[in-house]
């Protein structure tokens, strides 16, 4: 089985695979709880629900926890705590957009000479099995960045539900190794499988292209448009909460905190948001981004212009979470439609 191979696994075979994975590794899968879907570490194969549009929250927190201790310093011994070794993990049935977010984060956080050791250890021990969308959500726009709906980047194996089972495409060496371990469950895909896959891919992409078109290179010049009346108007609504950043699969900005816990000195890092008026405030009191509209524009500019310039990929995957969950309807699609 080579990279890029298309394999077929039956419905029953998939159940067996899931049971095997759950018994040997940490498996994180979509689970239905309290009215919405979210990723959780599962103990039994039956806990995973695969009939979902997408999860309320992205799997980001399993790679970048909302808060983590960077190090501790004990006055007597001076011992500093290094990041622990992560356990072998399978991230199951993640949507292609969220998997693509991981590949963007890889570009940014694993880049030499200063890769993030915390992210690195978790990422290196995780195999990502994506599940293609069957029906794009109301606010989804992954076609804009080509991060879905069937196939994205950052997946080790791309699973697509077809009649009688799943089509599995081997996308990385890590994915090939995992599938190799369960070889008897997989068979070579036949032309009928591939035709169904092709049909699904065309139908979904067509459906999404009808809503919003793929963006072009001109977005990198977004910075020149920030004086536009649109931003002045839209920024008025923004409440400056952290919701959009916290539900974003890509937003990775953090802040650090130093404090004493009894007599141990602790440095922790945790999610922060550029929407917050405190984000750029420096110790001296100087703040280069003082107005709400500046902060509002920054978020779009960072995602659509600065990240692409520095890392060659957009900082947005079109999952639609911020669009749907923003209490005041701030909508990045409007920026894409105007200047994309």
């Amino acid at each position: 089985m080579r990279l890029g191979s298309m394999l077929f696994i039956s419905e029953d075979g998939f159940k067996l695979l899931l049971e095997e994975l759950v018994s040997s590794k940490k498996v994180i899968a979509p689970v239905e709880a309290d009215g919405f879907f979210d990723f959780k570490a599962i103990k039994h194969a039956g806990e995973a629900s695969l009939d979902y549009t997408n999860t309320r929250l992205p799997p980001k927190r399993f790679f970048i926890p909302q808060r983590e201790v960077v190090f501790k310093h004990y006055p007597e011994t001076g011992v500093r705590q290094e990041p622990g070794i992560s356990v072998e993990t399978v991230l199951l049935a993640v949507r292609p957009c969220d998997a693509s977010a991981l590949s963007i984060l890889d570009n940014i956080l694993l880049k030499p000479p200063h890769p993030d050791p915390f992210y690195e250890s978790r990422r290196r021990s995780t195999t990502v099995l994506s599940l293609s969308c069957a029906k794009p959500g109301e606010e989804c726009f992954c076609n804009v960045f080509q991060t879905g709906p069937v196939r994205g980047s950052g997946e080790d194996v791309t699973l697509t539900r077809i009649t009688g089972g799943f089509l599995a495409e081997l996308r990385s060496e890590r994915g090939r190794l995992l599938v190799n371990g369960f070889r008897s469950l997989f068979e070579k895909a036949v032309s009928e499988h591939l035709e169904e896959y092709g049909e699904l891919s065309r139908r979904l992409t067509g459906e999404m292209e009808g809503r919003i078109k793929t963006v072009g290179e001109q977005l990198v010049k977004l910075e020149e448009k920030l004086g536009d009346e649109y931003f002045q108007q839209a920024a008025q609504r923004c409440l400056e909460c952290s919701l959009c950043s916290f539900v974003c699969p890509v937003c990775y900005c953090f802040d650090t905190e130093d404090y004493l816990e009894k007599n141990t000195y602790v440095r922790a890092k945790g999610w922060d948001t550029c929407a917050s008026p405190f984000f750029t405030r420096m110790a001296s009191g100087l703040d280069p981004r003082t107005s709400r509209v500046d902060r509002f524009c920054h978020r779009f500019c960072h995602k659509l212009s600065r990240i692409p310039l520095a890392f060659n990929a957009y900082g947005c995957v079109g999952c639609g979470r911020c669009v749907s969950l923003c209490p005041t309807g701030v909508d990045i699609r409007e920026v894409l439609k105007r200047w994309g």
């Binding site: 979902y52 549009t53 309320r56 929250l57 909302q66 409440l239 909460c241 916290f246 749907s324 969950l325």
Partner: protein, 272 residues
């Protein structure tokens, strides 16, 4: 377009045309929902909509617009929060034109990743004390008659709050969507005093939420904006309702009922 919507637009248009106000705060449609909009030109009054998706409390924006003459579309609860803001000296009643809309209850927003797709009436509307704003310069009658379904029960056991708070992302959407959360230095944002860390700490979520609950006690108008804004659907209004009940029993006080009546927790009287 409904009759109520039509009436709303014509009021807004005439207010702007006659320069009674500089700006009308209302709702506009976007995608499958509605969102706040700021209308400053008479010809844009046609953007305004009225529907059960209008859960956001527009009184939130009034404090930042102090000094300007503003028209605001207000449900019953929004009107009560305007009264509360006036009583707490945060906004000037004289510069606000309240376009009261008779409300028949709002729907819970249908959010990303929900297991059910249908919109259902918000639970907190079942505990509504008045569907019409206590202050009104204009009144738009509802198209449909009949109050929202009652849902008074639904209390959460104290120990269940721990698991509900554990889901909290500390995104502050509840704080920022609340019309009565207006402190410039918020004690639960982790600055002066640093009651909790600025960055979310799972050990501190109880402190975070209880501090907020105590600040809302006897002031909360139960508009439910916090709950509807919450990305993980913590039923915060139930908590604030329980605290409000205590103030109602002990002080016969219902937040936002009358201008000139300060909330009991903000009044100091030596004779008790």
């Amino acid at each position: 377009m409904s009759r109520a919507e039509d009436e709303l637009r014509s009021i807004a248009r005439s207010l702007l045309e006659n320069r009674v106000v500089e700006l009308v705060l209302g709702y506009e449609r976007y995608g499958r929902s509605v969102r706040p909009c700021f209308v400053s030109k008479p010809e844009e009054a046609g953007r305004l909509v009225w529907s059960p998706e209008c859960w956001f409390n527009l009184a939130k924006y009034l404090r930042s617009l102090r000094g300007r003459r503003v028209g605001v579309v207000a449900k019953g609860c929004d009107g009560r929060s305007i009264v509360e803001l006036v009583n707490e000296n945060q906004v000037d009643r004289g510069s606000i034109i309240v376009i009261a809309v008779e409300c028949t209850g709002v729907n819970r927003p249908v959010k990303y990743g929900s297991t059910g797709a249908a919109s259902i009436p918000a639970e907190y509307c079942g505990r509504c004390v008045s569907r019409v704003s206590p202050v009104a310069d204009y009144l738009v009658k509802a198209d449909v008659q009949g109050p929202p379904e009652e849902s008074p029960g639904a209390t959460v056991h104290a120990s269940d709050w721990l698991s509900l708070f554990a889901k909290c992302l500390k995104c502050s959407a509840c704080v920022k969507a609340c019309p009565l959360c207006y402190c410039t230095e918020c004690s639960i944002e982790g600055f002066k005093p640093d009651l909790v860390h600025r960055l979310r700490d799972s050990k501190e979520l109880f402190t975070f939420h209880l501090t907020r609950a105590l600040h809302m006690a006897g002031r909360c108008v139960e508009c439910g904006a916090c709950e509807s804004a919450c990305p993980v659907e913590i039923p915060l209004t139930r908590l604030y309702h329980e605290l409000n009940e205590w103030f109602r029993e002990n002080y016969s006080y219902v937040p936002g009922s009358r201008i000139g009546e300060a909330p009991p927790a903000l009044v100091f009287k030596e004779d008790g």
